[in-house]
């Protein structure tokens, strides 16, 4: 009898969370990376807050993307190396749901902390306090979408040599719409304007991602494991 897909997903999610908390330092790395990247810009560009404010949306979102790419390495590689992923694929349960669970936990562990910590970096870049809620909301949605599309590229590069650099190259085209709308939402929030429109588009991308990305990721993983 086949276990309901949702229970399988929950099992996988709980396993991933438990494993992740055994190595808390690994959890912090993407977050620290993001904060460092955000700090580098004022150091290298200009200390003038007004100019930094203009650059802030781009800096924050590129930083979020880079941090997400760093974290994606952890998504599949360890499980692929010790054979767990293969067991998932052979188990007869829905690989799509299992990978969706892995992607969600990945987002909970990397995207959510990043979105919540972003005000620190944003403040340093001159972003007004009023814009912070909008920034957090946009980053939550955007990082979720990035985790979803990143799962596809992570799956594709499983069988590749030196997959890390390739992973970044492959993730970029899929991430561009997320970056464009996310930065637009942040820009409008900073200016005090209504940012609902880009948020809806981000939401649409996330929904599209939820429905299609796990399928594509599962197909990619199966190909990579052959």
């Amino acid at each position: 009898m086949k276990t309901p897909a949702l229970s399988v997903a929950v099992l996988v999610a709980r396993r991933d969370l438990r494993l992740a908390f055994r190595k808390p330092s690994q959890l912090l790395q993407p977050l620290l990376f993001f904060l460092i990247v955000a700090t580098l810009f004022p150091l290298t560009l200009t200390p003038e807050l007004s100019r930094l404010r203009d650059a802030a949306p781009g800096v924050l979102w590129v930083g979020a993307l880079l941090s997400s790419l760093l974290a994606l390495e952890f998504l599949f590689r360890e499980d692929a190396q010790d054979g767990t992923l293969e067991q998932f694929a052979l188990s007869g349960q829905s690989l799509t749901w299992m990978l969706f669970a892995k992607t969600c936990t990945h987002w909970l562990l990397t995207g959510v902390p990043l979105a919540l910590a972003a005000p620190l970096a944003a403040g340093a870049l001159g972003v007004p306090t009023a814009a912070m809620p909008g920034l957090i909301a946009a980053l939550l949605l955007g990082s979720f979408a990035m985790s979803l599309t990143g799962a596809i590229s992570a799956g594709l590069t499983l069988g590749a040599r030196r997959g890390g650099v390739l992973l970044s190259l492959l993730s970029l085209p899929l991430a561009v719409p997320i970056l464009v709308f996310g930065a637009d939402a942040t820009q409008r929030a900073i200016a005090g304007d209504d940012f609902a429109a880009p948020m809806y588009l981000l939401g649409a991308i996330a929904v599209l991602g939820i429905t299609l990305a796990p399928l594509a990721a599962a197909a990619a993983v199966r190909i990579g494991l052959e």
Partner: protein
Amino acid sequence: MNWVWFHRFGSPPWVYGFARRWAPWIGAAAAIAMGIALYGGLVLAPPDYQQKDAFRIVYVHAPSAMLSLAIYSTMAVAAAVGLIWRMKVAHAAAAACAPIGAWFTVATLGTGMLWGKPMWGTYWAWDPRLTSELVLLFLYLGYMGLRAAIEDPVKADKASALLAIVGIVNVPIIKYSVNWWNSLHQPATRLIGEADMGKGMVWPLLLMFLAFTLYFAAVFLVRLRAELLRRERTASWIREALT
């Protein structure tokens, strides 16, 4: 309906022979068409009212753009056919498309930049169409990079096929971005009908589209032969094909 012609396309030796026979003729037709179109566009067509002679860049820019999108679509369809029906020929076709498509994306971006400078005052603008065309280049490069990075040829075929299919979402974005957003890049000019480009300006452009399509077919068939040879390691037909 007679499906024999379809099944022939699944047979590597038949496709190899077909490519060998037809490529030269298609190439010759492309060269002639291109020559006439170039003459029509550079010499015969009258200067534009607003852009004077700068508009002539359209005769290389638009066909390049068309190819960059059409080749990617062809590649994605071939990839899908290869994945679904497990046809080696389809995977070979997708692989053959990629370098050509990438180069014509470069051509589109380059000619676009050279046209943008006199017309808009800038070589580049981060508007939707230009940005998504750049993203298309990254997709081509990522596709070729993924192929190169995976050692097992069958795995490489399948993984890159999946990437090509996922990337197809970019093509409609490029095409319709000028309609969906306020863009620096002008929307499509109506080619036929009233209030379009002047009469002497249209036919060289249409002929160039045809010429580029024929050219792609010819170059594609040459690359396809190479890809088929690489995939058919020990098959007996190769011995005869190489003589």
